[in-house]
Amino acid sequence: MNLPEIVQHTQAYYCLDCGICTGSCPVSRVTPDFSPRLMVEKTLMEQEENPLEDVNIWSCLSCGQCSSRCPSKIDYPEFVRMVREEAVRQGKGGVPAHRGLFQTIMRLQTLDVKQSKTAWAREVGRVAETGDTYYFVGCAPFFDVEFHDDWGVDAMDGPKGVLKLLNAVGIEPVVHDDERCCGHDLLWNGDRENFAKLAARNVALIKKLGARRVVFQCPEGYLTFKKYYPEVVSDMNLEIVHFYELLQDKLQAGALSFEPFEGVLTYHDPCRLARQAGIIDAPRALLQGLPGIALREMEHNRESALCCGTSAWMNCSSCSKAIQKERLTEALAVGAETLVTACPKCRLHLNCALRDMEIDLKIRDMNELLAQHLKV
């Protein structure tokens, strides 16, 4: 799609030039050169400067804070995503984080590679070979390779917690070694071609295993399957369920209960889960299910939550770090001893900033925390 078509598609011409997007943007807070408003304006004005050359298009976190407040309801992240696709088509790109390791892993998975990444599941709980419910584990096993030794953060805490909790409510999900990356990051890197390949492989696999519904703990995987897969895969016919909604129903029905939690805890809303998928109350209800918990809200919470600073393994910078530090400072300001998040990436990114800060705050995976407090 060329730029005028992108403007038409996203209705960016409705822009009122009011500045709410830029005033809301976590990147603009730190980097004055970055302005969603001016990026749209440049495209609309067809100035001589080519918007595709603008490095800023790769700095957007696609957190959606701008769109959620935009009085013209312009889907700004979608605008950026499409501009990136066009830029990639013209041979341009952003700066991959972690030396491009994750992009390489993602693109490898579009091929016929043999993977082994489900052994943990058989050690932790019960899984099935075929069946009704597929548990989409996502990228955590790959994160584990990159981060475990460096930071001592076990990215597998989350999936392990999910499996324990699923088993506790009587679900033995299917997991599979052939599962591919959901493609979220490639999609947001502007590589739609490889995203579509990953989507096709995943849907074919899940269907082959006889599953009818897919359960996610990863907010990115959930949103990608729900919102973007139907664009590239015809007749998906899969029920896309977020783990917390499923678990909240079981909690209300009395199918599970938790041991007490002592201490002050705050919940960090992942942008994909809260602002973009609207799952805001379910994780809070689950945390409130832990007797004695003191759940406090940070200054920016729910649909106004601050981003974790970087997205799609790209353009991680000092700006990312500043955003992350601001977020952790917000947690401290409300007296939190523990910050939990529902997104494996938020957890890693915030932990990255924590390494440079001498503060007394624990960052934990929500699923691991819930599983640990499960009443047997």
């Binding site: 030039d17 009011c18 408003r37 009085p71």
Partner: protein, 404 residues
């Protein structure tokens, strides 16, 4: 005039409408009440005053507001002790006109009319729908109508521009003084310490910010916003400028900032008024819609925005923020429209004929004021005269004069 009443049945056609009106019981005989106010003075039940947005109290027997007509007191059955089955009866005792009647029942009036005018007004946009503005959570973020009450000599602060946190803080300080006296006698020192700490904090807030002097006016709150109302509410730019000018007249040290996207000062003398606001009253117009409002430890609202002319994202700490809430269609209009057979437009305002702007889809029913769309006061008054003339034509010709 049938106030405190509603239409319950409606039938017929132009020249011959049959209307049944339910008169709600006031528990006060309207023909006897002289509005002397002795009842309200003695009534022991305090209720937050809706007209002043809870910034002060009214009694369970009350008048909605001083200038309301008919000038007659009303008992609020949800709060009156007698009507809730408890012991009281003070108002009946002190009423020299013997107007209080706890046994009053609702009554119905049947009317036969030739024409009807629907002028049900509007409602203030509920700003809690924009969570990033913190309305309802941050005490010193208020609506335009709350500002009107604060500026009014008959308002909760007698026209002194106190911050809501100060008004409520003063009430809290009185309560705290009592609680501290009680806690001094008790054995528990931790409770006393907590109360004294709160007292110190509230005293600081009340005294340091007694008068709101640095004001921020936020335009287009719910208007020109696809999430809520796409339309422009038309009057907010002018009332914000007006409120800022009056605030300056009350307190010369006032500094006001109007955060706008476009200042739509369309109307006779309006543009000149805007210029006067800047030149005479020193208002500063800042182009940029506010992104979010936070609060510092002294309960000062902190606005974050992009100054689009400077291309700069910045914050400003203010004493008080006044939202220019949009003009929303009243919630009750859907029921009224259903009863009368009226068409509403996409925004729930009464749909009118393009060439006859006060005619509804039903011959003989006219509309005016904010029931048909956002309007300021002079235009509403002009429309009211016009609607009355249209209705008079209909009445005098038995419905013949409808077609133009």
């Amino acid at each position: 005039m049938l106030a405190y009443s509603e239409v319950t049945e409606f039938s017929g056609q132009v020249g011959d409408f049959k209307v049944k009106v339910r008169k709600r019981p006031r528990y006060v005989d309207q023909s006897r009440c002289t509005a002397c106010g002795a009842c309200a003075e003695k009534c022991p039940t305090k209720v937050p005053n809706e007209f002043n947005f809870g910034l002060d109290d009214r009694k369970a027997i009350y008048k909605d507001y001083a200038q309301g007509i008919p000038s007659v007191y009303t008992i609020d059955p949800e709060n009156c002790r007698v009507l809730k089955g408890q012991k009281c009866g003070v108002c009946a005792k002190v009423c020299q006109a013997k107007a209080v009647d706890y046994d009053q029942k609702e009554s119905f009036v049947d009317l036969n009319v030739a024409a009807v005018i629907v002028s049900t007004g509007y409602e203030l946009f509920d700003a809690t729908q924009i969570p990033e503005y913190g309305y309802g959570k941050l005490p010193n973020v208020i609506s335009s109508l709350e500002m009107e009450r604060l500026l009014s000599a008959g308002g909760p602060t007698k026209g002194h521009l106190s911050r809501p946190s100060t008004v409520r803080g003063e009430v809290r300080l009185k309560d705290l003084a009592k609680l501290i006296k009680k806690a001094e006698k008790s054995e528990d020192p931790t409770e006393l310490e907590a109360l004294q700490a709160e007292q110190k904090r509230v005293e600081h807030q009340v005294h340091k910010y007694h008068t709101a002097k640095k004001l921020g006016f936020i335009q287009c709150v719910g208007s020109r916003d696809f999430r809520f109302h796409k339309y422009c509410s038309s009057y907010c730019c002018m009332h914000s400028i007006k409120e800022a000018i009056i605030a300056k007249e009350h307190e010369p040290a006032t500094e006001s900032f109007v955060f706008y996207m476009d200042l739509r000062t369309v109307g006779k003398g309006f543009e000149e008024y805007k210029v006067r606001g800047a030149k005479v009253s020193g208002l500063q117009y800042v182009r940029g819609r506010i992104a979010e409002i936070a609060q510092d430890e002294d309960l000062n609202p902190v606005v974050r925005y992009e100054d689009t002319e400077q291309r700069k994202v910045t914050t400003m700490t203010l004493d008080m923020v006044i939202l220019a809430n949009a003009c929303s269609a009243s919630r009750g209009i859907v029921k009224v429209a259903d009863l009368l057979g009226l068409d509403l437009d996409d925004n729930n305002f009464v749909r009118t004929h393009p060439n006859r702007p006060l005619d509804t889809n039903v011959p003989g029913i006219f509309t005016c004021g904010c029931a048909q769309g956002p309007l300021d006061i002079p235009e509403s008054v002009a429309q009211a005269s016009s609607a009355a003339a249209r209705a008079a034509e209909t009445v005098m010709t038995g419905g013949q004069a409808l077609a133009v």
